[in-house]
Amino acid sequence: MATENPLVLPGDEIDPSLIPTHKTKPLRLGPGLRHVPPNQILPTLAGHLIADHRKNALYVEYNGGRYIPSPSDLVIGQVTRSAADLYYVNLTPYTPNASLPHLAFEGATKKTRPQLANGALVYARISLANRHMDPELECVSTSTGKSEGLGPLTGGMVFDISLGLARRLLMARSRDVGKVAVLELLGAEGLAFETAVGRNGKVWVNSESVKTVVVVGRALKETDEKELGVEQQKKLVQKLIKEMR
């Protein structure tokens, strides 16, 4: 009997008993796996193999490495320059720029569109990403025409975090499933701030007071670097709040 979430290395054979089966849904392969025709599934990364029987999906859970764009990810980018009808946005250092059309903002027309200076931050969704083309971004939902929280980020500060923590922060139930509670705990202590989490390992924090921004950023960075659990996060928050006052 194989263990529930076994460690896999690239090229390892996957025990057939771990591959989920479903009557109607097709099997979906997530990150870290590749299908070798005709009937082999091989891992390409080192991590834990996780099977989701309800969704009939199989993926490798891992942390680390560089962000690789994939469609419908939420990212924080920095505008590097503007062309005739689009902005060039940098997602990770030393990678080709993503493009963000001038008209991909809420209510934007040729006459009224957000003017973004070089170096401005945007919170955007990846609308197109494939290996042969540079990624494309959008700050508006194509179905509703609303921004849904996306758009230019003014003020605040960006902190770099690991891709794993960014993924956990973006989970629907980040406290129960992702085991990150720092933001909730800091909010419960009476701090007022807003955050935006980019899947490319960036967190933007904004607040009325600069002190709060720094405390929130430090709490996140420390949680990430020291791999803190929920209990330790509570202690960290108490310590930071005490130092702040």
């Binding site: 979430n5 460690l7 290395l9 090229g11 859970e61 560089r66 080709p96 042969h132 085991k179």
Partner: protein, 254 residues
Amino acid sequence: MTTKREPEAALSVLPKSDGSARYSYAGYTVTASVNGPIEAQRRDEHAYEAHVDVIVRPAAGVGGTRERHLETILQASLIQLILVKNFPRSLIQIVLQVEASPENDYVNTKLMQASLNSAVIPALLQTAVLALLSAAIPMRATATSAIVAVMTQDGASRLVAHPSPREIEAAQSVHVLAFTSQDGLLLAESEGDFTVKEWDDVYDTAKKICCKSGATKGEGIEMVLDEQEDSGPDMRQFLRSALETKVAADLHWK
């Protein structure tokens, strides 16, 4: 003796690179950093696959022809492992810094600049694979590597796995072989005089070192003792346990 020591590895040791590893075995200590996929220079760009750039830096001084030779050998092996087709027009950069190499008291190393330094290849390859795994670069398979020397004593030849610098100096021929985790031959570099029969024996010995997995060990206690005596540590098991520690730390919240 330094050569029979257990290998040691630490992953993600450098904070600013995408992935990194430090590995030490048989007197060699190598640190590797991996960055990628990043934007390639126009002249390095391939339309359909990633360019893998391997840079070897020696323990002392700047790299020369010998390092360039090592780079070409490693690059040819690593592009077989990395799924280069996944990242067209990009660059995967691997920098290998040799931090320590075993001293040979009998020979002035400065004089042997011209020859291939085959003893360092297993350490370089192993470190590169660990760093690539740490950088989460998609790969076909992992690899393990071994060095075997053929010694001649009183007319009879004898195989020595993981030879010391002194033994390499005295050996008739030295062979470096690497195998993927699917037991395929990845790299074979030989130096010196040898027959086809000798090479076949070397191949079998190296394959035994590189491809033995934890599962075959349970067959009998005597066999285990036997194997450990001449072929050194189980490299595959070592790779797995090194990654196990790293993945467990990364996914502590699960």
